[in-house]
């Protein structure tokens, strides 16, 4: 849109009389903007490196698994197991992208520009949360889709084989969604507390990794009940426990889920729901305060 050189015509200021879109569109615009910046789109080349590196790794792993399966006929990893196996990458992805979405805005002071617009404070937080959930789900779901396509095209049982494969894929995608929701809500809450991206990233990694030993300690305590509830100790283990309870042998093929979580499946589900709800509530509260500053 460069102007022709030479005479510059000053057409003066034009008032705008066209449509002004409502809350849903504004929310959508912010959500899409967040999702794009999660993968570095519309940002500097430097911002693209990490998200696409992680995306590349998970896709290569998925392609490798598919290749092994077509060659040897052996299922190395189910769809649901894939998410568990990638947990480290998911943690680092949240630690980089979460602060990218919220800490950057806190640091640069851009929030007054948002909150002086017809954007309810809660919508800002929820749109960002939606962006991060979607980004994480794509990160875990895309490679599963690659695995599915590989399996579907090489199946020996025709359409029936594809259908069976699809029935395996859908729980896998739902499990990926569980990962995405829990990690995004915890990660974004931590990131929203500080404008310093390094601190936010460190905090997120600490919460997700440092809580793992808690699970280890609880699981060797001399009480069966404590052992069975040990996986409440960290978000990663919590997700795994919910997966064990709901997905059964899709996540732990051939294993007996009762041994690890006993009859506490519903407790794990309830705690997961409460954790997400609590984080979202705190996130909304946090932005009530930020907006008034």
């Amino acid at each position: 849109m460069s102007e022709p050189t030479g005479v510059i015509h000053d057409i003066g200021y034009q008032r705008y009389t066209g449509p002004r879109l409502g809350r849903r569109h504004v929310f959508g615009a912010l959500y899409l903007h967040g999702l794009r910046s999660a993968f570095g789109l519309g940002r500097s080349a430097k911002a693209k490196i990490f998200p696409w590196l992680v995306m590349g790794i998970v896709l290569v792993v998925a392609a490798g698994l598919t290749a092994v399966r077509t060659q040897t006929g052996q299922v190395v990893m189910t769809y649901a197991q894939f998410a568990d196996a990638m947990s480290w990458l998911v943690i680092f992805f949240v630690a980089v992208v979460g602060p990218e979405l919220v800490s950057r805005d806190l640091h640069s002071g851009v929030l007054p520009l948002y909150f002086s617009r017809p954007l309810p404070r809660g919508d800002y937080a929820l749109a960002k949360l939606g962006s991060l959930v979607t980004a994480l789900w794509l990160l875990l779901g895309a490679p599963q889709l690659v695995m599915f396509l590989g399996a579907a095209f090489t199946t020996d049982n025709g359409m029936r084989g594809v259908w069976d494969e699809l029935l395996d894929l859908l729980p896998g995608l739902l499990y990926a969604a569980l990962w995405a929701v829990v990690f995004a809500s915890v990660g974004l809450l931590i990131a929203s507390l500080t404008g310093k991206r390094a601190f936010a990233a460190g905090g997120i990694v600490a919460v997700f990794l440092m809580t793992a030993p808690i699970v280890g300690i609880l699981s060797i305590m001399p009480s069966r009940t404590v052992n069975e509830l040990a996986m409440l100790g960290s978000p990663t283990a919590l997700i795994h426990a919910v997966g064990q309870y709901t997905l059964g042998d899709l996540l732990v093929p051939g294993g007996d889920p009762e041994t690890q979580i006993g009859g506490f499946g519903p407790v794990y589900v309830a705690v997961a729901v409460l954790l997400v709800a609590g984080c979202v509530a705190l996130l909304l509260l946090r932005y009530r305060k930020v907006a008034a500053r």
Binding site: M1, Y16, R20, L21, S108, R117, P118
Partner: protein
């Protein structure tokens, strides 16, 4: 139509710190200067006008709307330029202003068009595609002004728009604000702690101190009959004074300057004529407005 009105507006933080105390003011559209020292309550008032803070008591209306009950409707018609740094360094001005235009509810293509327009109006052209991080303070201030304009508001709230600018940048920013207020048909509230600067472009002045209203009036009412011509000649000041007195001009001396009240344009001619006749080297002849500060200085003790 009343642009802004407050009625016994009070805001206290935690019941102890009083930011605004019983502020009642009503202003008409135009360019309004909101002046007061740091901590006088200017920023608090702006946040209440935007519906970001709830007043402790009292009533407020902006463009006929109540920001405490319908903040979204108010914010859709108001543009806000914050005082502090508010720009993410790695986005370009065009991207940022486009994005914020969409957050104001503009459709995608409209937002892009209006963003370039707004940036052009504040004087940013090709550089608008560069990352904001590399901009000078003056350019950043312009981007902040452009983002407040992008959605074509009916009212602009500018919080210390000349902060951190050099004298030339200040003049340019003030000229731009004046142009927005007069040519664009958008009312502007300019917050500043520098009275001398806003009085140059405003037609209404609201002065607050310690959260209380000092005075609110049309600036013409405040400064009428106070304009003075200052004459300085390198030599022969006494001769000129005598000559002007002989012409029935009530001349007074202030150091090396002669001050003559400005009645009408004829006063200029009389002075120029007198200087020419005496063949004196004229150093300067300029119109000096009595600083509005002097008007407040006499009132302040009774109010504070």
């Amino acid at each position: 139509m009343t642009l802004l009105a407050t009625e016994s507006l009070t805001k206290t933080y935690g019941g102890r710190v009083t930011a605004l105390a019983d502020l009642t003011v009503s202003v008409e559209p135009g360019i309004i200067g909101l002046v007061g020292a740091n901590g006088a309550g200017k920023s608090t008032l702006i946040k209440i006008l935007l519906g970001l803070l709830a007043p402790t008591s009292g009533r407020v209306s902006v463009l006929g709307l109540d920001p405490t009950t319908d903040p979204a409707a108010v914010r859709a018609r108001v543009g806000y330029m914050p005082e502090h740094d508010a720009l993410p360094p790695d986005l370009s001005a065009a991207e940022l202003v486009t994005h914020l235009g969409r957050i104001s509810g503009l459709p995608r293509t409209v937002a892009r068009e209006r963003a370039s327009e707004a940036l052009r109006h504040v004087g940013l052209h090709e550089e608008r595609h560069r990352a904001v991080g590399g901009y000078s303070t003056g350019m950043k201030q312009r981007v902040k002004l452009a983002q407040a304009l992008v959605h074509d508001p009916d009212l602009l709230l500018l919080d210390e728009p000349t902060n951190g600018l050099d004298p030339a940048g200040r003049d340019a920013m003030l000229a731009l604000i004046h142009r927005i207020g007069t040519e664009f048909g958008i009312s502007v509230v300019v917050c500043s702690h520098l009275l001398g600067e806003v009085e140059r472009i405003c037609d209404t002045l609201v002065a607050i101190d310690g959260g209380r209203l000092l005075r609110a009036d049309r600036i013409s009412a405040m400064t009428s009959a106070t304009d003075v011509l200052a004459v300085e000649v390198s030599e022969g000041t006494d001769d000129l004074a005598a000559r002007l007195a002989a012409l029935d001009l009530p001349v007074s001396r202030e150091g090396r300057l002669l001050l003559v009240p400005l009645a009408d344009d004829a006063t200029y001619d009389l002075i120029i004529g007198a200087v020419a006749e005496l063949d004196l080297p004229l150093h300067r002849l300029d119109q000096r407005r009595h600083r509005v500060a002097e008007l407040f200085a006499t009132r302040e003790p009774s109010n504070v």
